[in-house]
Symmetry: C2
């Protein structure tokens, strides 16, 4: 049997799985949390132990890797991690190839998740799709003409940094009103926190916030995107305002992308997409209003959930194998 090893360096967690080529069931699958003080070395060490536990002395025929950060996919070099230090210019492909002696392919998580959904998930049978992850940040990955499209410099997919409101709040990237600044979990949490810390002034403008306080037991440092989503579903007006402003910004972004690229499907994954039905309704509605009437628009939830990058890593790995019964993606 031809064994495939799939790895996911996810920033806060590491995951891996092995399966036989052609199968859609893991032989073994493991997920571990990366400690908050992790660095590249400790992550690599933890992943190495995870790999040995997965392989049980067997050797894989190919390895696919999803990395949660910018990657030069042509060389399999990690550019950096926004979450874990020490990842600058780590030649992850070379490192793993030297250790296992087999073909290794590495790409960033949004591109890999797009591949995963295309081959195994909500994008099966679609020749074009845009996968969007709405989580800590907002990123995306393309399938165009049945092939991944990474961009001339490997930078395609950055829907998080298209501007939807030039008079909106300032993003870390230096621009105002980016999709990520409005729709990502981290920024929504920050906005709610700041409004609550700034109580007297807020009172004049907004109501709500009580459910948020309850959910975090009064400790505003514990406000996360998830808390904002939960408070909104409980009817907290402040949380609703921030959550659905984010959904609207994402919807405008999606509508713009539809006008520009007209993909067959948009597939949305990531923690924020679990914020409930109304979040989805706002996204769908604003996307529909932004797209031209002649532009068909289909937005669906990711089918593979948090495992999309891992399944995509399976697809990535198989591109190094010569004869397969399903579409082969070009080596990045």
């Amino acid at each position: 049997m031809t064994l495939i090893l799939a790895l996911d360096f996810g920033g806060t967690k590491l995951a891996g799985g092995v399966l036989n080529l052609g199968s859609q069931r893991w032989l073994r699958y493991e997920r571990r949390f990366s400690p908050t003080n992790a660095n590249a070395s400790s992550d690599l060490e933890m992943m190495r132990s995870l790999i040995h536990s997965l392989l049980q002395e067997r050797l894989p025929s190919a390895i696919g890797v999803s990395f949660g950060g910018p990657v030069d996919a042509t060389t399999g070099t990690v550019r950096l991690s926004h979450h874990v230090s020490g990842w600058e210019n780590i030649r992850l492909k070379d490192l793993l190839e030297a250790e296992f002696g087999v073909f290794v392919s590495v790409d960033n998580d949004a591109n890999v998740a797009a591949l995963g959904e295309h081959r195994f998930g909500a994008g099966q049978g679609y020749d074009s799709l845009f996968y969007i992850t709405v989580s800590t940040g907002v990123g995306g990955g393309w399938i165009v003409n049945n092939q991944p499209w990474r961009g001339a410099g490997g930078m395609a997919g950055e829907i998080g940094h298209i501007i939807v409101d030039p008079s909106g709040p300032m993003c870390l990237c230096g621009k105002r009103g980016c999709v990520e600044r409005l729709a990502s979990g981290v920024y929504m949490a920050r906005d709610v926190r700041e409004m609550l810390e700034n109580e007297p002034q807020r009172r004049k403008e907004h109501r709500g916030g009580e459910k948020v306080r309850e959910l975090v037991g009064g400790n505003l440092d514990l406000v996360t995107g998830k808390v904002v989503g939960e408070a909104a579903v409980l009817g907290d007006e402040l949380a609703e305002q921030i959550l659905y402003r984010g959904a609207g910004a994402l919807g405008v972004g999606i509508g713009n992308v539809a006008n520009l690229m007209n993909p067959q499907r948009f597939v949305l994954g990531g923690s924020v997409t679990k914020a409930g039905e109304r979040w989805w309704e706002v996204v769908q509605k604003t996307a529909r209003e932004t797209a031209l009437p002649e532009v068909d628009l289909e937005i669906v939830p990711a089918a593979l959930g948090d495992d999309a990058p891992l399944w995509g890593a399976v697809a990535l790995a198989t591109q190094g194998l010569p004869t397969l019964g399903f579409p082969i993606y070009p080596t990045p």
Copy 2:
């Protein structure tokens, strides 16, 4: 010799050319203006006479057609023209195939111009590019992985209708602050005209307008995008304000597209791109500011000028021929 016939139904003008396969020089080339009261029948009649003058009794081996309006490229059916009446659902491919008995391929002008620039112009040797025409309207055409990308429903490329300022002026499409609403010749002319007609109120907000009045001899009905561009170059403050607001909106749109698709090159054509150096500077600057620092950005003028659609029609036509010495595009 294998003769190729290229046709361009341009809204206000009709053009055609014939050349030998593989050559980059027209054997014959003609351009005629379509009268203001033209309809589909009169345009077709005029094009028929132009074709006969071009062919001189010879028969082409294939025909490529650029049409200035939405086209279903898979069937070669014109959906409509925004400039000339009677074009609704005209099966232009079938019509010409019946008349000439050879393969005919039809697509909209932005897609065809992108093809033309890719094969013969500023996009030669680039495996991805976005061609943008900034003229009466604003539209675009994609080359991705060396292939035209028309979108799942043939609607890709509509950069004119991505929103760059949600609090901006209302566009015919029903949204506010589209790129086309701010950057197209027709809308810029309308904005200048309306501001001048509304003189007393305008005086409070803006200066300028005198050069515009001079250029049209006081007849505001004659204000066009070209006049706005000329007045701006002469230093008219009102014209400058409108022209460079448009350039900025286009720049933001291009920066957003760069983040999303990261094409190797942007190629800009159309009358508004002739508005002078400062227009280009504003486009370049805002695009650079909008794109992420890691995203390379190259924006160049179209090399084929108004003939880009005609050269693209040559490329379109050749896809119907089996053996060629250059890349073959898939039949739309």
